[in-house]
Symmetry: C2
Subunit: 310 residues, 2 copies
DNA sequence: TTAATAGTGTCTTTAAGACAATATGTT
DNA sequence: AACATATTGTCTTAAAGACACTATTAA
């Protein structure tokens, strides 16, 4: 940022300027951390039914939640995040909080929305900046929960169904879409059922849409809304095989694993031949192969840095 | 927003909770208002060279800027906008400021980014929420500038050129892109030349990018950065003939005008036959035709509200 | 050998791009 | 009639979708 040079008169003005004269909000960054991880832990994987040794482990899309240790919403699950401090940008807040709470220092991290509806936080006027983080699921293993601080991975699955479509007086259209999120924590056998209503309103001239939480399913604050928006944002970025999905992968990966990641995010299956045709220019073949699978081993690929775009 | 119900113990906690104990930023909404408008005013249009009566007036993409009446950056051009007040969401702030400063009550209005770099405002810690507004250019005519408050439309043109592409140590890639914005105010014959550097950095695993202002060209604060981001956001939304562009049009429009709007935003010409093929399902033909042109009149169309999506 | 995944070939369908041709008000 | 834009037809090229086929490893 270029240094701002003020005139003498202006310096005088700035000296007298007092930001504290006005009401101000607190601002936070709340991070939805996605990872593609095995359905089973390594131990379970090692001792599973030997008759099934050929099958690849199932993979699922998971997000990271923390259990709140203090009020408000004590003992409820929430997104990792925290308050912005003076002298840091929102991006820095998000990066700092992500590292503090997960130990992950380098991740794909992008802002996707601002949540500022009055009443969203019972403590007062608090604006949240929603961040999307994508990490390699094998890189980060949670430490066992302590009393003071507990974090866990939840499988996330989403379904959306249009529940209503009506014409309004001015020949516009009102569409309601119900979004259901299912968040499942395996070790605790804990299932959070979240549902939201998206209302799209189109007049002859403009469109607008908003989300309403029908059932927070035990999530703190308006985090149900933030998580849904993060998920839809991720899905939009993955459509047309946009290359964010690579950020969910380790440095080297098989094309099958990459395809599975796309499928989990997009919520539909892809045809392998077509997927490979599209993805080929974005990856580089390595000399290595994956080992320890009960069938033909696949070549490992890595990202082609020449073909990144954001 | 569902009302939050607190336990007795929790109420106690919340009563004692004092947001003012922590440092907090001020937050603003800054709005980049786009419109497609005639190169000439109505008067000029009426008295232009009669030999040329057949030709349609040229149209240009314009943004609205206001001249700052007070410090900091007094007398410099800036985006319309202002501070969020308690009890309103950021969307409401943007909508209120847009109406206060332009009189436009219904417009396409969407957040596209947060600008929070330390030092971006000499008054202190002030976070800006960038909003994109699209309005029908014929709807809003500026009142003549007064001393206290001056607003004007500037034609905006942008060019981007990759100036450097290097591999870094870890086999990653660093790309630099120079963005030049030209903002031209016709009545004042005032040209602001703005230039920014976008730096994309790709490692083996992740990508990141940032913008640096090389020459603010006389714009206040970091508004050069905000305007560029607004423009690129608009362009991205228009790609693949996404239907935001309709929000720049009046209720009824000719397909040629619509095509021109797309071309201005996309920065390239489109082939008419192909454009019409793609746009046809998104519009409805009306019975009316445009009048007063020196050639075959075109049918007027309006949006097909069944085919909106956002 | 078999189960299971790895990887390829090719036909069909759909969309994008290019360009030529015809149509029709105003003056 | 001439200008300027309006509007349509169709050929070419490229991408997406569907599906069948062959290949290779560990046990």
């Amino acid at each position: 940022m270029a240094k701002y040079v003020a005139s003498k008169e202006e310096k005088e003005y700035l000296k007298k300027y007092d930001v504290t004269k006005f009401d101000r909000p607190s601002v936070t960054a709340d991070i939805t951390v996605f990872a593609v991880r095995d359905e089973m832990s390594d131990e379970e994987l090692a001792q599973r039914d030997k008759s099934n040794y050929r099958k690849d482990p199932l993979r699922e899309l998971q997000i990271l939640l923390v259990k709140r240790a203090s009020y408000p919403y004590r003992n409820q699950w929430a997104l990792p995040g925290g308050f912005s401090k003076p002298g840091e940008s929102c991006d820095e807040t998000a990066r700092r909080e992500l590292e503090e709470e997960t130990g992950v220092a380098d991740a794909y991290l992008r802002p996707f929305g601002v949540f500022s509806e009055p009443g969203r936080d019972p403590r007062g006027w608090i604006i949240s900046h929603g961040y999307l983080a994508l990490i390699d699921g094998r890189k980060y293993r949670l430490h066992a929960g302590t009393d003071a601080w507990e974090a866990a991975w939840f499988r996330i699955e989403a379904t959306s169904t249009e529940t209503s479509r009506k014409k309004n007086k001015q020949n516009g259209v009102v569409i309601e879409i119900r979004h259901d999120l299912s968040l499942y924590q395996r070790e605790r056998n804990l299932k959070l059922k979240v549902s939201l209503l998206e209302r799209k309103w189109f007049s002859e001239l403009h469109g607008y849409h908003e989300y309403e939480i029908l059932d927070a399913g035990g999530l703190a604050f308006d985090h149900a809304k933030i998580i849904l928006n993060a998920f839809l944002h991720l899905r939009r970025e993955a459509e047309g095989l946009g290359n964010v999905i690579f950020d969910l992968m380790p440095e080297k990966f098989t094309l099958n694993r990459l395809q599975k990641a796309y499928e989990l995010v997009l919520g539909k299956e892809l045809l392998t031949a077509n997927f490979r045709r599209k993805i080929t220019p974005l990856v580089l073949e390595t000399e290595e192969e994956i080992a320890g699978v009960g069938h033909r081993p696949a070549k490992l690929f890595k990202r082609n840095p020449e073909e990144f775009y954001s």
